[in-house]
């Protein structure tokens, strides 16, 4: 039982919170800018690499330099939005999907050009896990990631429910036309969306880097689970994305637990396919997601 918690449940929650943070950005751009942003994973990779360089330069802890890499990544995202996405605001959403698909490869090739493709570690050294109640083992970095993720999600909740711009964002996700009619500055809302989505994306990228390592495909590998989380939670529903991320992260890790007999229920090589199966299931049975999002 304790093995279940140490090797399946805790990694599941960890992975789930990383997915959840990334999926909030996906669902916000999907809801407010109305397109599936394929480049979102790459902004996470970029944030992780910028943090890596900052850690190398300053010797500080990744979490200390994270705000700076958030700011730098957001500047890049706003630049991209201004020159590559904004020209398509009035055209069909599929043009934006295509532009973001091209952007995904462009950002990645820039990262590969400057940093190379070797795998890097952001937090060197092995940390001894802290043992609770004699058996429950938690590594300090995992505790740190889970607590930071909870703080960030509470911050998103506060932003969306208590601030004016948060309400404007929700209004625009519900109905862009009505939002415009009520005098909401849509361009301002769009910029805020990039800021919020970018900051959370960088956080999720850095957490993944702390948990595993920094590599150029890390963001792309998260893309499918994040889309699945956003669809599972309902497009345009940030709370849905959080729940969806946790569910998908947990399911992926729990799927290789030996539920029946002694063999893993699912070959761990197929772990990455879980998100896709859940997504297809949702698209068939309930495209609006658990929290009644958009189709």
């Amino acid at each position: 039982m304790i093995e279940f918690a140490n090797f399946y449940l805790i990694p599941g929650i960890l992975l789930g919170s990383i997915y959840a943070l990334g999926a909030i950005g996906i669902t916000l751009t999907f809801g407010i800018l109305r397109f599936a942003n394929f480049a979102h994973g790459e902004s996470m990779t970029l944030g992780a690499y910028i943090s890596f360089t900052l850690v190398q330069m300053t010797g500080l802890h990744p979490l200390m330099v994270m705000p700076i890499s958030m700011v730098l990544t957001i500047v890049v995202l706003l630049f991209i939005d201004r020159y590559f996405y904004r020209p398509f605001r009035k055209s069909h959403a599929i043009m934006l999907v295509m532009a973001s698909f091209g952007m995904m490869l462009m950002i990645r090739s820039v990262i590969q050009f400057f940093w190379g493709v070797q795998v890097k570690t952001i937090l060197p050294g092995i940390q001894m896990p802290i043992v609770f109640f004699d058996t429950l083992r938690l590594s300090p970095k995992h505790i740190m990631i889970i607590i930071s993720a909870i703080v960030l999600m509470l911050a998103v909740h506060f932003l969306l429910s208590r601030t004016k711009i948060g309400k404007a964002m929700r209004a625009m996700a519900d109905s862009p036309e009505l939002a415009r009619l009520t005098g909401i500055d849509t361009e301002h809302v769009i910029r805020t969306t990039w800021v919020v989505g970018g900051a959370l994306g960088v956080a999720s990228g850095v957490f993944l880097a702390i948990d595993t390592h920094v590599e150029t495909m890390m963001g792309f590998n998260l893309l499918l689970p994040m889309f699945a989380s956003a669809i599972l939670g309902g497009i345009g529903r940030p709370y849905g994305a959080m729940a969806g991320g946790l569910i998908i992260g947990l399911t992926e890790e729990l799927s290789s637990y030996p539920w029946i007999g002694t063999e893993p229920l699912l070959n761990p090589g197929y772990k990455a396919g879980i998100a896709f199966i859940i997504m297809v299931g949702m698209l068939i049975w309930r495209p609006t997601g658990l929290f009644k999002g958009k189709v």
């Binding site: 020209p87 959403a93 698909f101 090739s109 893309l223 499918l224 396919g273 997504m279």
Partner: protein, 323 residues
Amino acid sequence: MEQFYGYFLYLISLATMGGIYAILTLGLNIQWGFTGLFNVGIAGFFAIGAYVSAILTTAPSIRHLGGYQMPYAVSFIAAMLVSACIAWAVGKVCLRLRTDYLAIATIGIAEIFRLILKNETWATNGPRGVSMIPKPFETLPEPWNQLCFLALVILTVFVIYLALEVAHKSPWGRVMTAIRENEIAAKAAGKNVERFRMQGFIFGCMLMALAGAYTAHYLKFIDPNATEPLTTTFLVWVMLIVGGSANNRGAVLGAFAMWTVWSASEILASRLPDELAIRTAYIRIFLIGFVLQIFLQKYPKGFLSETRPHPRAARTPGYSEPE
């Protein structure tokens, strides 16, 4: 003389791969150009075709499923049929939803195939891939074997091109254009939008599988990374957008032109010192991406813009062909 012969062989291989890309681009043209479907899993359907055809034709091997030694005609058709079945399943789930979902689902299905190809080692030999795939005409002396293969590819491109030209002008093609331009109006005119979209998606995926099968036989080897999956998909998209979507001639032109640029830049890059050569690979992808962005924003019609099919004057009395 020796040197010229080398250039000659290089030109043949350039044209062969260009032709294979032209098949892929024509397949995408049915989906995106005619029907307006956004498929970013091209590499997935390409891989299905490659593996099905490879497994059906190879000699028995202990490393992977095989030993059927079917004729090429059977394996090509099988590759297309398997791809069609999978396309049907994907289409059934996604075609009734917004186009974005098809994009997400197709990129997902391409990733799933990669997982299957890597994990099911009994059938595919996992990451080490299937080798010793027979190649049509390989018993002929050099350079005739290469030339015959090239002829096969070019002939296929030509036949597909002619078929698509006829299809584009036929009532079927006009319904496709109508659906792409105004789905609601097409529905109001009594057209079964979902069925037409499904047909477009399946036909496109079949052509992609055929291109995959050709590649497997051409290279005589296939593995899950034979062609870097996203780059393949992306390159085909750029070919279609640059050449001109919804224009079959544009698709073929874009495929050959972009493949020449891509392949020539690879050769130029390989002349550079090692460290730089690796890095220029990333610059190439970046520049191709930039070309796509410029075309999307400034020249969305591509080199050759769409020629709209017009109904024949003879079929509607008193109606003259608009010029």
